[in-house]
Subunit: 346 residues, 4 copies
């Protein structure tokens, strides 16, 4: 049984980790770390866990936690994981960091977009970007995983085959993304009140959202060249779900069948990426609560562009589910253990 | 492996049966019955099941189905199950009827409230009212289960200990219930359009809803006398969830601890009924996607009434989950098999 | 032109006052008082007012405001208005207090339920409870109006004719109320985040909500005797709207026509109370954005109870709209000036 | 007093026309036309109009209506207006067609995208595209107005100044639009049920939506050349509102101030187009219920693109409000009569 510690267990992503790990046959949470609720029963913070979790919340002492667990998930704001991690800890436990601290290889880029100093740049090189479908073998051997961002996961998987195969001009990529509000976290902010979010849609972080360089870096590896994109996230009145609608110019005329073959080439063996049937558009509702990413595309011969779409649950494949998928790989388990629940509809 | 057939697999309750049974270790669906989608792929109707269910929808021929399966779930409108069931079928398979056909023992009451003729009154006596927590032993031996209604399940379990122990005057019971809109089914009706339901709450079926006699009958068994109640359902702008707020006059002065002991007496051993901590009100969100019913109460010494509350997911404990729980009992399995998923939050 | 000052102009009720007064022919806001946003443009707090309101927010200095305006609305938490009001101010301006400070005549009851000391008990007697339909003549002559609470307005108007005519036993009244989340205000609280409110319904303040004594007091005047009720509010995932479902035992057998005549007797001449047609249940959506209260009832001969229902917009008739209606009466204007906008649907 | 007839008064756009015209000083509806509800009271179909509208629904006989009214609004599906209009009618009344029948000048394009034969192509040339801000003078003299589509209104007004001034390469325009579900109409379809729309976002009509050629035609006039765009609409779980996020490549380096000056040049005098302050993103909630379009932009120097955004209420400026604005112009009234209500928030 893998012993698990969670730093940030009382945020939404932390809560989702708890939900998923309760259904995991080989893992057991032994440390529910929280800054705000120390000594309170976890189930009094998340009443859905009443009679399912009896533990109290502990603090977020990574050193102490490292002595008691096999793997630590950090589901915390940027900067915390980097400020805590050290060689002694990494020699004892595996770390899966759900924050952005180790996602971007160029520390200057990180510091510029996030506006904070990186406290542990020496581990950036070692850290593996935990997009399992792409870096599966590296994940298996990693000590430190940079769990991908929600928008980057959905954006990248929607576009990847086209970029990898060189079928689109990667400097024409425009990503228009839409997210439910759980992505904004459980902090008490006026902007996230029901009355402000309901009956509303807005763009935010236009031309400046922090997930932009993360997407660009990963697309750059696939393209074999630097990539600059436009990325615009929107807040949608729903609790879960990310939808990506991406646009790019085709480098040559292609048929539906040719593109379908390209998507199948990369995803047919993947259990969590579903290439939908022709003309079926991904919908966030069809993946809610699951670890699936549904992708599809539409060629527009009039403009010679392709529209690539992806839908996933931001808290599962976009955060906690992908983290568990990484854990499974790191510990030599079935990659899908604890993650095969069907999406819930309606 | 139990072979399962579903009549009405493409309604919301049918869809939930499919979701739950996909995660069930001892059961396998071999017949997805549907009237509207015969020969279409099930996953084209419920895209969440893409790559999880490959079967096509078949018709709803109960005779033929009975030859191929061990248990049939009928998740259809009132009247259908009663019109199809016969001795030959009941000798071959177990039937769990999610409609109201066999819930009410007095056929005249059924015919009056439902406005249709009962086509198989000869099986009413035999049918077991499948509220597992109350009729567990009878369920284990049954051929035909009347799976309880959503409102009656939540209403009854919220009130039952108080009635059973004679602590409230059962003719003062008033049940004010609130439901998400999936309870209204997947039929295309103007009243259930997003634009009509969103930002709206209304009562309906006031003083005339069909679940009234079902609740009264079950409360009557517990009280040992006839019971007349007021029951008012409301439609709430959410997809899942039922909340019951029930009121009754206390027969004598009681303390919190006395009432708590009464609830614990009946529910402490129950895995799916959670008596919440003092002063914690049930919320539908805390049980969403799960088979739990959360109950609690508040004594009002000013009016000498007690307010009893219950929350559950209408599609799970209120329909498909309870049906699977019944199946588990009928086939000698662990009652909770396939039903221990944690509620999903948010 | 009536010059208006608002203390608490940046809360939801304050914002609604601004919306309504912008469409009022005889009034003009000259002071947008706010504690949190002093010196910021009002339209930067409520972007809907961009190019419609150019003013900046000022502080909430009632003394200074009283020199510049004809009427002050206080849309603030309990206690503030009572702590500011004095004879000098009341000699200069009329005050319409949207908080609970002057609603309850018995200061001991106020202090017990609200848990704070009343700072100006000397004005309680003078203050007029501003339920226009009931106290119209007193309102016209008042200096200080206690604008009724949202739940009390809807509850009282739904029940009033039955109590006034002695047709129900007033000690059997049970009020089950449901409210949208704007009633909880614009404060940044976890409980009011979109992810906590959406797909959720819960009771709160069970057997202890502060609007209970306010409703009891007003019903008591109508009944001519002390009244004790059960009042249970619920939070519903919508932004606006209150629905009341009230139950009471009939004192004698009555027909639909008799009860309808009683409702018509009190409301036929009222422009903002609409007694719906037979069997039409009030819905919050049908009154959204308007000053209407829709009421109706259903007799249940089985239990000899009557179910009384009412729906209104909590921010309009439940707060800002009623406040403007009071202002109109106090200044001798048409009672409906600025309030005749039709409900918005969908 | 202008006498108004509405064909399709019981759809959502028709209902909004009724709401707006009830508040209009110079117009009075004398004919509520409906196909489905003939002889029913209008207020029984739209209960919000109880006691505000006493009329019954009449049929949709345009010939007869033309004898009794001054202006006819057709708020019906494509094809109906074209099949009814004739010279005799146009000589008697003005017609404002909310359908697409007369929006596209090239009848072949219309017939290709809409898949129906045009029954009155002889009036296409005469019909004025009723985007008031662009075609104000022509509208004043028109007999027949093609009221613009919802997506085209918001898309075009968000982009227009940049195209008109030649600052962007018009063949790089990509429009990603998001709409509330009232745009889909009041028809009873499974896809528009609450349970299907709630907690969901999806693209639809990808690379094939009928509003594409309408937007292209209008942008073409502004650009002085043929324009091909990508236009992708999405369905969002809200009842009202359209948000447009549009992307295009800049033809030259520009500063914020330069672009702001361009937007102000075209919109500073417009009462219904609000160019927001720097870095404020349009939100649908800020315009709900009003005739405003809020627009803004963001320059991305990294990609040398500009992101242009617009938000409006699809039922007001996107349908009924714009139709009333056109009526005001046609009859020589103040263009804003009946349309100056502030947006409702929350």
């Amino acid at each position: 049984m893998i012993k698990v510690g969670i730093i940030g267990a009382t945020g939404y992503a932390g809560g989702e980790l708890v939900r998923l790990l309760l259904g995991h046959k080989e893992a057991k949470i032994v440390w529910y770390g929280s800054r705000s609720y120390v000594d309170q029963k976890y189930a009094s913070v998340y009443q859905n866990m009443f009679q399912l979790v009896d533990d109290k919340c502990l603090d977020d002492n990574m050193e102490e936690m490292a002595k008691q667990v096999d793997v630590i998930f950090t589901a915390t704001p940027q900067g915390l994981c980097a400020s805590l991690v050290n060689e002694e800890i990494l020699n004892k436990v595996k770390i899966i960091d759900l924050s952005a601290d180790f996602r971007i290889k160029d520390v200057a880029v990180y510091e510029k977009w996030y506006g904070i100093e990186h406290k542990a740049p020496q581990y950036i090189e070692e850290a593996v970007y935990g997009l399992c479908e792409i870096n599966r073998e590296a994940v298996k051997k990693a000590r430190l995983i940079a769990n991908p961002g929600c928008y980057p996961t959905c954006s990248f998987l929607s576009i990847y085959p086209m970029v990898k195969e060189g079928l689109i001009d990667s400097n024409t990529i425009i990503i228009d993304a839409k997210s439910g509000t759980s992505g904004a976290g459980r902090g008490a902010k006026v902007d996230n009140l029901f009355c402000e979010v309901n009956e509303n849609i807005k763009a935010y972080g236009v031309a400046g959202h922090r997930h932009t360089p993360e997407i660009e870096e990963q697309l750059g590896y696939a393209a074999g060249e630097n990539v600059l994109i436009n990325f615009t996230p929107h807040l949608v009145p729903m609790q879960r779900g990310i939808l990506v609608t991406a646009y790019a110019s085709l480098r040559k005329d292609v048929t539906y069948e040719e593109v379908k073959a390209v998507y199948d080439k990369y995803y047919e063996q993947e259990r969590f990426v579903r290439v939908l049937d022709k003309d079926v558009c991904p919908q966030t509702k069809w993946v809610e609560g699951s670890n699936f990413v549904d992708v599809n595309f539409k060629i527009d011969p009039r403009t010679r562009r392709i529209i690539m779409m992806g839908a996933m649950d931001n808290l599962v494949k976009g955060a906690a589910g992908q983290a568990v998928q990484n854990m499974n790989l790191m510990f030599g388990l079935d990659e899908a253990e604890g993650l095969m629940m069907a999406p819930m509809f309606p």
